[in-house]
Structures are given as C-alpha cells and as structure tokens.
C-alpha cells in the first residue's frame, strides 16, 4: 500500500481499512494474575464468546498480534518482558490494560515489587477498571477499542505520530464505564 507508506490516504479508503481492521483483531493474551482467569472466561468460554466481536484470541506469538491485553499485576521483575513483548508486536498495535493492578497498582499500591501501572512501560489505549473486571467489562473495553480504531487516522499512525483521531471531537481518553456506547 504505497498510499499508506507515503502518509497520504483518502478519507473514505481510511474508513474502509479501519472497518476491516477493527473487526479482525488478533489478540495476544498476556495473562499475569487473577485477571487472566477472567480474560480466559471472556475469550475462551462459551458464555462470553469474544469471537462474535471479530476478535481472534489465538495467535501463536506476539509477532502475529494486533492487540495485547495486559491482565494482572505487572511486577518489576516482569516489566522487561512486557516491554519486549510490546516491541515484538508489529505496527499498528494496541494495548488494553485490564484490572486495577495493570492500571495503577491496585491493592498493591504500596508494595515494593509491583510496577504501579503498565502505562509506565508501554502506551495504553483502553483501561478496564475492576479487581478483577467482569468478563463483560473486558468485552466493553474491546468494543471501545474498536470504535477508536474506526476513528483513527491510519496514515498519521504510519508516520509515527501515534493515535490521531479523524475527527477532533472524539479524542477523549477511553475508560470503560465512562459513558454510553453508541
């Protein structure tokens, strides 16, 4: 796609690409603690079934993934591995931080060995609060991320400018439970 490479992409084409990208996300499950089980329930159980949202939870390695869900406590010993995981993923890549521990340290806010928030290491797109969040909350996080991808300026992302919305008005930070979903 030469157009994307050069950073010029017509808006209708961007919309089309974004639609396709948002409904074919390969998610890498970076399960660390309690939240990993709720993530397993959301991604691997018949009751919550994430595949109906167009999310495929079974890539063989982070190199094939578009999205990573960091679920659980990130400790200082684990932090380099999380960083390396993120660097292995191909662009464009997205991160959902699941659970209070990954968001801000959670109940271990005063612990000597816990990294207080995975956003100190890697950029995070959607924060899902809860200890642990219910599987439905994670699914809502996925839906919010899909909305974000649909409104993304793909060419700007390619130029390395990070997340740039197509329309300015929708650039609020995303937190699950923060407002109604259209």
């Amino acid at each position: 796609m030469g157009l994307v490479d050069r950073g010029r992409l017509p808006a209708p084409l961007t919309k089309l690409f974004n639609l396709g990208r948002s409904y074919s996300m390969w998610v890498y499950q970076w399960g660390l603690a309690c939240c990993a089980i709720e993530m397993g329930a959301a991604f691997g159980s018949p009751r919550y079934d994430v595949m109906r949202l167009g999310v495929i939870p079974l890539p063989a390695s982070p190199r094939q993934a578009d999205l990573v869900v960091v679920s659980g406590t990130v400790t200082d010993k684990m932090a380099p591995a999380v960083k390396r995981l993120y660097e292995q993923m191909p662009e464009p890549k997205y991160v959902i931080s699941m659970g209070s521990c990954a968001n801000c340290g959670g109940p271990y806010w005063d612990s000597y060995s816990v990294t207080k928030g995975v956003d100190q290491i890697i950029p995070v797109d959607v924060y899902v609060p809860g200890c642990p969040p219910r599987p439905e909350a994670l699914l809502e996080g996925v839906v919010l991320l899909q909305q974000r991808i649909k409104n993304e300026d793909m060419a700007a992302r390619w130029r390395g400018e990070g997340f740039t919305p197509l329309q300015r008005s929708e650039s609020e930070p995303i937190v699950v439970g923060g407002g109604p979903i259209e």
């Binding site: 309690c34 089980i37 691997g44 591995a81």
Partner: protein
C-alpha cells in the same frame, strides 16, 4: 482405563535405549530451553529453565518471583479486615479458601468462635471454591495435551459455581466475605435450591470429563507412568494436597484436624492412589471435585439456624500472641502464622502456601523426562502463580 500393555512398555524401553545409543554415537550437544516466564502451559508467569540433551531433560529448575507482590510485608501495614481483602488474591481460583485459615487464626487469638451457622456456611463456600478451582484444572488439563474442548466445558460449568458464590457473597471472584467472628451476611433466598441443582450439573461435568478425557487413549499414554513421585520423596519435599495423596499418603487436613468448621458433620472419603504418576494426580483431583459436591450436598441439608456473626467489637484489635492455623485448600496445605502485638494490624504474617512447596519438586521430577512430558507433569502438579510467589 487400561494400564500400559507389556508390548507398549517394551517398545518404550527399546525406544529409550535406541535414543541413548544414538546420543553416544552422535555426541549431541546440549541446549538450554526456557519455558516462560509467559507460557500457556505454566498457568501464569513461572519460568522453567531446562537443560536438554537431545529430547531429554538433564537438569531443570523453576525460576519463581515474576508474580511476587510482597504479601508478607504488605500485611504489616494493613488492618485485619484489610488483610482479608488482600489475601483473597493469593490463590485466585479458590479465593474464599484463602480467607478461612487467616480468619481462624485471628479468631483463635481473639478467643471468639463463629456461630455454628457461620461455620457451616463457611465450609460450604470453602468447598464451592474448591470446585471452582479444581474444575478449571480439569479443563485446562486437556489443553496441555492438545485437546481444546474440555476447557470450554470447564468454563461453562464453572460459571454456575461462580454464580452461586456471587449470589451468596456479592463477589464473583474475590468474595471478601469472611469476617472475624462470622460472616458478612446470611445466605439469600432460594440459594439452597439452586445449589442443589448446580451440584448435579457439576457431577455431570465430572462424568463428562472422565469419559472424554480420562478415557482417552492419548491422555492415558501421556500420563500413565510419567512423572512418578514416590511417597518418601513427596514427603521430603513437603508436597501436600492431591499431589501427596496421589503418591499413596493418606493425609487430609479436613479430616485429621479439629478446626471450627463443619467437616466433622459430613461423611466424605479421602481418595488416595498408589501410583504417584501424572495420571494419579489428575484422577485424585477429579474424585475430589466429586467429593466436594457431595460435601456441599450434605451440608446444605443441615444448616443450623441462628446468627451468622458473633459479638465482636466494632474496631478489631487482636490481643498479643501468636497463632498458626492451616487448612486443606484446593492446592494443598495453606497456613498462616500470625504474630500480633495488640495493634489494629498484625505484626507479622508468615504465609505457607501449597504451590511453593509443590513446585519445589520440579528439579527432581523433571530429571530425565522428555520435553513434551514437562508440560504434562507441570500441569498435573497444578500450581497457581500467586500461590507460589505471593
């Protein structure tokens, strides 16, 4: 359920001998294989460093600490009710079971005892969390051997148990329901009928798993006679729970210990298995889920009436002293050694969690096994990372 036939055993020995000869002839170089820190087969962030010779493990060592959250230090700066909220997250699959020994230790120090109704409900919830924990193990077991279906079934039926726990406690995962002197609340209306139905579903689940997984030839050939732990070695390494019972040691704290819980009012069997291999460990856990459903069935019929909370002061100060209480948790023996100096929070809490001792045997049991067997042995040992690293 057939044992390996003689012919299979002979071919196994012949294959091993051929491998050994080949290794000597070719002088194959060793290599180091890192499993983890994030690997689907390790239920979390355990890292196994294995030194291989060809396909065989020469030396293996677990590297823990990727999930170390500093529990023992954190308990020193929390009050007793806050500690309860924290220790839910040690073994995250059976959260309620973590609270019980700590609360019992604190009650022992304060010299209060929960009313009989609270003890009864505690025991029911304890067994429900055991079911929630071990049923996921049974599903996950299939994944380790390449069968994906059982995990879907496990998640499906585990949801029923989680709904029960949520109905009674308000927390789906981490109930934080136990209080010093009793329970936060009584059971809701209609809960007992629902429990009766769910226990039936869970027994069906056990039958299904037994048919699909335990009766499967591939499963049998990958677990029978693999990762054998003799009883003496198991005792020396401090194994507990199903891992110890699978080695033929008849040891269960629910039966052997006198605690203010309702286990003396029910009739249940402690299963043991003489083999000590991966198969035995999996089979013991399957039977344990069945026994747990039977225990719950018996207990919900005989809940005594009365209050669920004893008289305790509003602000809890635990008098000076030391107490050690351990219970038979889903993973094995879990105990808390609480030292109190008469403050709002404990002075020191030593946590003895089952998984830490259970994985300490990995260097011994992984020596000489083949690489695919690492996964099955680790799966059958069954640990939870929060329980190892705390």
């Amino acid at each position: 359920m057939t044992m390996l036939s003689e012919r299979q055993q002979l071919s196994y020995i012949a294959a091993q001998a051929a491998d050994a000869r080949l290794n000597v002839e070719l002088e194959t170089e060793g290599m180091t294989l890192n499993i983890g820190p994030q690997h689907p087969a390790t239920h979390g962030t355990l890292r196994i460093i294995a030194r291989l010779d060809g396909e065989q493990v020469v030396w293996a060592e677990p590297s823990a600490g990727y999930m170390h959250r500093g529990y023992e230090k954190l308990t020193e700066v929390r009050t007793y009710p806050q500690v309860t909220a924290l220790i839910n997250r040690i073994d995250w699959l059976g959260s309620f079971a973590n609270e019980v020994p700590f609360i019992l230790a604190a009650e022992q120090l304060m010299e209060v005892e929960a009313p009989p109704r609270a003890q009864h409900i505690r025991t029911i919830l304890f067994e429900l969390s055991r079911i929630a924990n071990v049923s996921l193990f049974l599903g996950d077991l299939g994944v380790q051997m390449g069968a994906v279906t059982p995990v879907f079934m496990a998640f499906r039926d585990r949801e029923y148990v989680l709904n029960l726990i949520e109905g009674a406690t308000g927390g789906r995962f981490h109930p934080n329901f136990d209080r010093i002197g009793g329970l936060k609340d009584d059971l809701p209306k209609g809960w007992i009928d629902e429990t009766r139905q769910v226990m039936k579903k869970l027994r069906n689940f056990c039958d299904e798993i037994e048919d699909l997984l335990f009766g499967n030839e591939i499963f049998q050939s990958r677990t029978r006679g693999i990762g054998v732990i003799p009883a003496e070695v198991a005792k020396e390494y401090g194994l507990s729970g199903a891992n110890l019972r699978a080695s033929g040691v008849d040891w269960d704290l629910r039966r052997d210990q006198k605690l203010p819980l309702a286990y003396d009012k029910v009739d249940f069997k402690v299963w043991t298995h003489p083999d000590g291999d991966s198969w035995a460990r999996c089979w013991i856990r399957l039977q344990e889920v069945r026994e747990a459903t039977r225990i719950v069935d018996q207990l919900i019929e005989t809940i005594p009436s009365g209050p669920v909370m004893a008289k305790v002061p509003r602000i809890i100060k635990v008098p000076e002293g030391e107490a050690w209480v351990s219970t038979e948790n889903p993973l094995g023996e879990m105990g808390y050694y609480v030292v109190s100096k008469g403050e709002l929070g404990p002075f020191r809490v030593k946590i003895r969690s089952a998984s830490f001792n259970n994985i300490s045997i990995t260097p011994w049991v992984l020596k000489g096994v083949y690489v695919p067997d690492i996964i099955t042995i680790l799966a059958s040992l069954y640990f939870i990372l929060g329980d190892i690293d705390r």
